[in-house]
């Protein structure tokens, strides 16, 4: 499964970067996160509730950030394991300042196994894309209102 896209925030790059490095913000951005705690340098443990149609379950995830280059770039890896399968996602986030606004490019690839894949394959990509779009909109609303 591949995800790729860009998003324009109507706020400065520093504010966007600050938000993206804040665990509590990430928790709201990622789909289904119920708990997220740092367990080391740039490593977080999360509990996520993921579901596509009838296939849903609680997943334990490890989120690792690397190649951190403030305020422009980082790499994220999410390894989640649950009763219905596993997700191993790797992606990059790149920010560019543009006239006081910020353009985000994101790109990622996920390996999905188990029932999540066998039953949900056709729905995975559109569902993930929808969730990401929703998360980004929420983030922007939060950044511009505060």
């Amino acid at each position: 499964m591949r995800l790729k896209g860009s998003y324009r925030f109507q706020t400065t790059i520093d504010r966007v970067w600050g938000a993206l490095m804040n665990p509590q913000v990430i928790a709201r951005l990622l789909p289904g996160v119920e708990r997220l705690e740092p367990i080391g340098n740039d490593v977080y443990e999360a509990e996520m509730r993921l579901g596509i149609g009838p296939i849903s379950g609680r997943y334990k995830a490890r989120i690792t950030l690397s190649e951190i280059d403030p305020p422009n770039h980082y790499r994220i890896r999410i390894q989640a394991q649950g009763p219905q399968g596993t997700v191993d996602a790797r992606g990059t986030i790149d920010l560019t300042a543009d006239n006081g606004e910020t353009v985000m490019h994101y790109e990622g690839e996920a390996t999905v196994t188990g029932l999540l894949m066998s039953m949900g394959a056709r729905l995975l990509e559109p569902t993930a894309q929808m969730l990401v779009n929703q998360g980004l909109k929420n983030l922007e609303a939060q950044l511009t209102s505060s």
Binding site: G57, P83, Q84, G85, T86, D88, T111, V112, T113, G114, L115, L116, M117, S118, M119, A121, R122
Partner: protein, 784 residues
């Protein structure tokens, strides 16, 4: 023999109990103290197991035990055996639960046993397995490429075996001097059997007698008992009773010894309670042995007159992650040997590479090797006919083995005992009104409608035999069949057959044979099967063997019964044995039919033994083991007529004519039902079905949402007919009809679609012929 029943289209005696919900399937059974098993299955196609944490599952209320592969192996459980060995074949171990690595999605890593099924399933989700995912490969050809991830250390190149049949040099030589050659590349896609009843197993251990009983959805309970007892679990064979009660369809998928029945039989002793497991449909998709999955390159050579000179075939057969019970036999001895089809082909050479991949194991599925062979032969015949500009029916006719050449020795080991191929073709052409149909096709093309006519002139080999020969080819068992006929004092008869019915209607067809032979009402005959506790050792049902092999064994026992009964009757009639005639259930002295003893009177005297021939043992029962002299060779011609919509690519089957020759037909209603079901499955493969794995060997078509089984509205009304060429070497003259439909239909439908697409210059599209694939092919052809 009077034939009051043989050949009569009787309704099946077993159906009232099935259609009123009174069948007894494994999942219907319950025992006091019964507990339930749920399997923890791998979500990965290939991974190292780093750790399995049972604690949370064990703490779950209602959970009795959690076991892993290590627990089983530590207690002495062995690998599941493979029942057919080829020279030089790699045979990596296959434990009922993975021990160190998982090698396909759905492989079992742990079992949870709990008070009820729901608790077991819930707790299975609480078993935490730490995996280290490894690269995986699902495609047979990709698995052979250098650097492909190896499934087993024992086979670093993923090659399980390389096998060949025929004369390579002679075949190459035939191609060198050929007038014309054609080559096709064919994918015979992987299919997932979907018996309506999922697999199930229930086991009970009795500590008082040290005996086990296993109820299992098996097509061959004795084979299950032998393999489980002697090879896997180390239970003395006489301490394990295997019962296979009503079974709702098998199509081959219930032949094999699977991990699940092994696990419950082992676990029942561990927990001291009877244990049951029933597959969910989702589990069936990843754990029932799959079928087909060949990638083939095939060539045909002809001379100036269009007579075939030779055939060359190269096949990659995907075997999956482990060798299922009969896996090596299917793409070799049940495939390569059938490549002569109905044709006189002077030389054939076929090589097959059996390959391990990170997928569910592949084994026999209705037809088992023979549909794959027929697809190769019949596609080649059509492609060559088109290349030569000849009519596909006439090109076939020209190359048929003529009726006066039987017995016919093919260049690929089989010796056909009988056949009249032109007879079946002519009848099919007549039924379909071929000439008119071709004219109609021409006219419709002018109007922009594309109909196509497809042929499949198939040969089948049923009742694989004799035992000595199959043993020399690698079978680890004989392929005879047993029958015990027990006549009770009142003349009622119970027949214990070693074959097994799971939809074939044995309880009716076999009773028809018995009632006729003994001249008694069919109501007086009971057919018992599927219980190692009462039935003599038998080989079970697969490969369309029940009528030719199982039925023949019954006939042998009936002959023994009649011989003994005649002795008793002669004594009662005070006549010489050779003067006594048996007719319509009555014994009388030749020429004096009014003075007779009925079969029932003789049966009673056999048990009373009051007025009895001196020296003769009392009682009236006989058992037989029938080992056939050869395979039987059903054949026929199937013709499909399709309409392809060039705008949407949708195929509609307008007509389907099947003319089969299965020898003498015991029950035409049952035979016709078998043909219908077989054609439906063949059409399913041609147009709809296919297992799809992604690049990480995840099965994507893993439910009935994504795996398209044919439905009633996908199928036309079938036009069924027969020719009758009796089998010359078994006492009934029967051949077998259970697989003819699947063997023939796939090629007939694909040939019909390609015939329809001829005006576009499209030569071949791989199955399933979905509207999308056809639409794309038409679009590309139009653009070119």
């Amino acid at each position: 023999m009077a034939t009051r029943y043989f050949g009569v289209a009787m309704k099946r005696r077993e159906d009232p109990r099935f259609i009123t919900g009174r069948g007894t399937y494994v999942d219907d059974l319950a025992l006091p103290g019964l507990v339930y098993a749920a399997m923890v299955r791998s979500p990965h196609a290939h991974a190292r197991i780093k750790a399995i944490h049972k604690e949370k599952a064990l703490q779950h209320p209602g959970v009795i035990a959690v076991f892993t592969g290590k627990d089983m192996v530590d207690s002495g459980v062995k690998s599941l055996p493979c029942g057919w060995l080829l020279p030089g074949m790699k045979l990596p171990p296959h434990y009922p639960m993975a021990v160190d690595k998982v090698r396909h999605v759905g492989e079992i890593v742990a079992v949870v046993i709990a008070q009820d099924r729901y608790t077991a399933e819930d707790a299975a989700e609480l078993v935490e397995v730490e995996y280290e995912p490894l690269p995986a490969v699902a495609d047979g050809a990709k698995a052979l490429q250098p650097g492909a991830p190896a499934v087993h250390d024992e086979a670093p190149d993923n090659v399980c075996f390389r096998w060949s049949i025929g004369d390579r040099e002679k075949t190459d030589e035939a191609f060198r001097r050929a007038h014309r050659t054609v080559k096709v590349e064919l994918v015979n896609q992987r299919l997932i059997p979907n018996a309506i009843e999922p697999r199930a197993a229930m086991a009970q251990y009795n500590p008082a007698t040290d005996e086990y009983t296993l109820w299992v959805t098996s097509q061959n309970p004795h084979v299950h008992r032998l393999l489980l007892a002697a090879f896997v679990l180390g239970i003395p064979e006489h301490k394990l009773r295997v019962i296979s009660p009503d079974v709702g369809g098998g199509f081959g998928s219930k032949i094999f010894v699977y991990p699940e029945e092994t696990i419950v039989t082992w676990a029942t002793k561990q927990v001291g309670r009877p244990v049951k497991w029933t597959a969910r449909r989702r589990e069936s998709f990843v754990s029932d042995a799959h079928g087909r999955d060949h990638i083939t390159e095939a060539e045909l050579a002809v001379d100036e007159k269009g007579k075939i000179l030779g055939m060359r075939v190269k096949t990659i057969a995907n075997l999956g992650a482990y060798l299922s019970t009969f896996a090596p036999a299917i793409p070799t001895y049940l495939y390569g040997t059938l490549l002569s089809g109905q044709y006189e082909i002077p030389t054939i050479y076929c090589e097959v590479t059996g390959v391990f991949t990170h997928t569910t194991p592949v084994d026999a599925y209705r037809g088992a090797g023979r549909p794959e062979a027929t697809y190769v032969v019949e596609r080649l015949m059509d492609v060559m006919a088109r290349e030569l500009g000849e009519d596909p029916a006439e090109f076939r006719r020209k190359n048929f083995i003529p009726p006066d050449k039987f017995p016919y020795q093919t260049p690929v080991a089989l010796q056909y005992d009988s056949g009249n191929y032109e007879g079946a073709l002519n009848k099919a052409l007549e039924v379909i009104r071929y000439k008119e149909l071709r004219q109609q096709q021409e006219e419709l093309r002018k109007q922009g409608r594309y109909i196509g006519i497809g042929f499949s002139c198939y040969i089948e080999a049923c009742g694989i035999a004799p035992s000595q020969v199959v043993g020399s080819l690698g079978a680890q068992a004989g392929l005879w069949e047993s029958a015990l006929v027990r006549v009770h004092p009142t003349g009622k008869v119970t027949v214990y057959t070693g074959s097994h019915t799971h939809g074939q209607g044995h309880e009716t067809a076999f009773a028809q044979i018995v009632a006729d032979e003994l001249g008694i009402p069919i109501e007086d005959v009971e057919i018992i099967h599927g219980d190692t506790g009462s039935v003599p050792f038998g080989m079970g049902t697969y490969g369309s063997r029940s009528a030719p092999v199982g039925g023949s064994a019954i006939v042998l026992s009936l002959q023994k019964i009649k011989e003994k009964a005649r002795k008793i009757a002669a004594h009662l009639l005070e006549a010489a044995e050779e003067d006594v005639v048996f007719e319509d259930g009555k014994f009388y002295v030749k020429g004096v039919p009014d003075r007779f003893k009925t079969f029932q009177e003789v049966a009673l005297q056999a048990y009373l033994a009051h007025n009895y021939p001196p020296g003769l043992e009392p009682g009236l029962e006989a058992s037989s083991f029938y080992d056939p002299k050869n395979f039987t060779f059903p054949f026929g011609t199937h013709i499909a007529v399709v309409d392809v919509d060039p705008e949407t690519g949708k195929v509609k089957i307008l007509r389907y004519v099947a003319v089969d020759d299965a020898g003498r037909i015991i029950n035409p209603l049952i035979a016709e039902g078998q043909v219908h079901g077989g054609i439906a499955q063949g059409i399913g493969q041609a147009l709809l079905e296919g297992a799809v794995y992604d690049e990480n060997a995840q099965l994507l078509s893993a439910s009935l949402l994504d795996y398209a089984l044919p439905r009633a509205d996908d199928l036309p009304s079938f036009e069924i007919d027969h020719t009758v060429t009796p089998c010359p070497h078994n006492p009934l003259g029967v051949k077998g009809i259970g697989e003819t439909g699947t063997i023939a239909a796939t090629a007939a439908v694909v040939n019909a679609v390609m015939d329809a697409l001829t005006p576009f210059g499209i030569r071949h599209i791989d199955m399933p012929l979905t509207p999308e694939k056809i639409w794309r092919a038409i679009r590309e052809a139009r653009a070119a």
